[in-house]
């Protein structure tokens, strides 16, 4: 019974923003709004407005940053909110944490809501660490008594004992973040909102922070809303997920399906050199026409998770039958260095290609790339007569953090590639003679 209680219920939530400068026209719109209001009519500007598509220029100055959002979060649930930049995640969190009011709709919640939109809010550089703990704690809604009863814990968690009576302006940026997170983590709200705080701080502290979040949700039965681009963290922490796109909730359900939905939907416009070639109508030469990526479930993705399957499909046109053809894919990092080469010449699987359109595929069972942007260059050649066609940087590949090692952890130095490996301790042979 207790478990099934709804902690947050969001119904028909919408938020409208006005684009462009607040200036001329503002006062006339305000007056018009006010005139409608005193006559008891609906705000005339609520009827206009478009979905929040960044790339395309809209007709109206009003956009809906959030549009008809509905979802419930159960008590003790850790819900991951994922979506592209500009999908409305941060706006949703801002509305939930009462920083800005919604335009329409209703949110009802049970218990104290605290947000970690950015830790260390309200730190005054001239005040000491101790004074700032009290300042920050009370800003977040704690009483002075609550803060002082947790002071030791906070200080120990942040690891700033030595600097407690030093002004915060002398702190390193990492120390400030640690102190800020420590205060927020000990706040013990019923509902905690976390937005990308884990992007800062060193690896040790990130682990501490993730551990604390897990502890908060599992032992305390408290609800956590977690916004992140780090899929590994989402997978590791969350019990359910919602995916947002253009101000709407497009998926809500399990974490795995949510992440997969997100990857599928985030087809970005990449600098795809091959797009022009599709329309090319050359019948006398061999041509690489397109490169498509797939994660084994969905076709046509532009994002892939490390540790997951990636299939690269190369489609081509050949004017005649050619024997012993090989394709070479080179994955280059953004600085142009080749990270690895995939070539069917080396795997002894040369193709015989027929006249006309065709397709070859290359499967990488567990993508060993760190999160980031990469380019795929493709070359096609006949074993003895040489290059048939080559396209450098033919496709952009965006890799996001998945769960390469199955532990949710990734090295903090992101150089080279990820490599599957095992650690073990050899049995120590102790002989009595020694």
């Amino acid at each position: 019974m207790e478990k099934n209680n709804v902690a947050i219920s969001v119904s028909n939530l919408s938020k409208q923003y006005r684009l462009g400068e607040v200036g001329t026209g503002t006062i006339s719109h305000d007056l018009n709004r006010w005139w409608h209001r005193i006559r008891g009519k609906e705000d005339p500007y609520l009827r206009v407005g478009e979905t929040n598509a960044r790339e395309s220029k809209g007709e109206s100055n009003y956009v809906w940053s959030l549009k008809d959002i509905n979802f419930d979060v159960k008590e003790g649930e850790v819900i991951g909110i994922i979506g592209r930049n500009g999908a409305g995640k941060s706006t949703l969190l801002k509305v939930l944490s009462k920083i800005t009011a919604p335009t329409t709709g209703l949110i009802r919640a049970n218990g104290r809501i605290a947000s970690l939109l950015e830790v260390g809010t309200g730190f005054h550089p001239e005040m000491t660490g101790r004074e700032n703990i009290f300042m920050n704690g009370t800003i977040m809604g704690m009483s002075r008594y609550e803060v002082s009863s947790k002071l030791d814990e906070i200080v120990a968690f942040a690891g700033v004992e030595r600097y407690l009576d030093t002004p915060v302006k002398r702190y390193s940026s990492g120390m400030k973040v640690r102190l800020g997170f420590a205060i927020a983590a000990h706040l013990e709200p019923e509902i905690l909102i976390v937005d990308e705080v884990l992007a800062v701080g060193d690896a040790e502290f990130q682990n501490k922070a993730i551990g604390k979040m897990k502890e908060v949700s599992s032992s305390g039965g408290r609800t956590v809303l977690f916004v992140s681009h780090n899929m590994a963290a989402v997978k590791n922490l969350c019990t359910s997920a919602i995916v947002m796109d253009q101000g709407r909730v497009v998926y809500s359900g399990t974490v795995d399906k949510g992440i997969s939905y997100y990857l599928k939907s985030s087809i970005q416009k990449s600098n795809d050199l091959l797009i022009d070639r599709r329309g090319m109508d050359v019948s006398d030469r061999f041509l690489i026409k397109a490169i498509e990526l797939s994660d084994g479930l969905n076709e046509g993705v532009s994002c892939a998770q490390n540790g997951s399957k990636l299939v690269v499909s190369v489609s081509y046109f050949s004017p005649k039958q050619i024997d012993e053809v090989y394709f070479r894919l080179q994955i280059t990092s953004s600085d142009g260095g080749v990270l690895f080469t995939l070539n069917n010449l080396h795997t002894d699987a040369l193709f015989q290609i027929l006249e006309g359109e065709g397709l070859v595929k290359c499967l990488i069972p567990d993508l060993p790339l760190f999160a980031g942007k990469y380019n795929i260059s493709v070359l096609c050649a006949q074993r003895f007569s040489g290059v048939l066609d080559e396209v450098r940087d033919a496709k952009e590949l965006v890799v996001i953090d998945g769960n390469f090692f199955g532990t949710g952890k990734v090295p903090s130095v992101k150089q080279g590639v990820l490599l599957r490996h095992n650690w073990y301790k050899p049995e120590i042979v102790t002989s009595f003679g020694l």
């Binding site: 006005r18 919604p102 001239e126 300042m135 809604g141």
Partner: protein, 290 residues
């Protein structure tokens, strides 16, 4: 089933709705955050003289020098009447009381702009911030009052015609009215400036002009003597009765009128309520317009 639903309805502790222009002071919530109010006052006080050599002495220096300048310019050079009071005391009383009002007004009028970093990241009743300004300015006012009282006793011992009287007991009322007025005006201005920045320019010289429309550097009797109408208009300024009454209570000369004080009192309540309504409406959406 329906009953169960009703039961669910009751237990929501937080409701977030669009701004409906409701009149709700939310004093309960402000009370819950009283520790934050204390911390903010403490912060203002502690950080005021950090890394200064003279420290809290700066609280004295500013009113002292202003008084000296006024004494020289308006007293000695322009020879404006001071109702028969020692010039130094006359100007110091005006400066002390005016400083509190103008400090509160200027600082509260930029609350949203100055705090948009904090306001944009964490929620607490926004009313806490202007309240903390009024209270921390009170500390400064208290210190300056001590300075003023010191000078007053010095002059009294030396036989100056200064006669404090029983209306002194009204001092808390004067302070409360000034706090209410400056808070009300400040909240109105800070709310409007989030959208219309023009008002910041208006405010800069507006406060200065208001000072000249208040009997700070001249007694209101001087104006009433010269022109009855202007004298009446002057008393429409809600700050004028406070300054005059303050002078009368401490120094024994001034235009003390119960009617004027009542007018200011009603005006204060009106401005304070209006300011609170506008402020509460703005706090919900100001992040979108600031």
């Amino acid at each position: 089933m329906k009953e169960h639903h009703l039961e669910m309805e009751k237990q929501w502790t937080t409701t977030i709705e669009p701004d409906k222009g409701s009149f709700n002071l939310n004093l309960k919530e402000v009370w819950k955050y009283r520790d934050l109010l204390m911390m903010m006052v403490k912060r203002d006080f502690v950080t005021f003289y950090k890394q200064t050599i003279l420290g809290p002495i700066w609280f004295f220096i500013q009113p002292l020098f202003t008084t000296l300048v006024y004494t020289v310019i308006f007293g000695k050079i322009a020879s404006i009447s001071t109702d028969g009071l020692p010039q130094l005391l006359f100007y110091m009383s005006g400066v002390t009381i005016w400083n509190y009002f103008s400090d509160c007004f200027t600082k509260t009028s930029t609350v949203f702009k100055d705090n948009q970093n904090i306001f944009g990241k964490v929620y607490f009743p926004r009313l806490i911030t202007p309240l903390s300004i009024v209270i921390s300015s009170l500390v400064k006012f208290g210190v300056q009052m001590l300075l003023f009282l010191g000078f007053m006793f010095f002059f009294m011992i030396n036989g100056a015609p200064v006669s404090p009287n029983s209306t002194l007991l009204l001092l808390p009322l004067y302070v409360l009215m000034m706090a209410g007025l400056s808070l009300g005006f400040g909240m109105i201005f800070s709310s409007l400036t989030t959208k219309y920045r023009d008002l910041t320019f208006l405010l800069q010289f507006g406060i200065q002009l208001l000072m000249y429309a208040t009997p700070v550097i001249y007694p209101s009797s001087l104006i009433a003597e010269k022109n009855k109408l202007i004298g009446k208009v002057l008393m429409a300024n809600p700050m004028a009765p406070i300054v005059e009454a303050f002078r009368y209570s401490f120094l024994g000369a001034g235009d003390f009128q119960w009617g004027g004080l009542l007018y200011t009192f009603l005006f204060t309540i009106f401005i304070f309520l209006l300011g609170t309504v506008i402020f509460n409406r703005t706090e919900k959406t100001f992040m979108d317009t600031v």
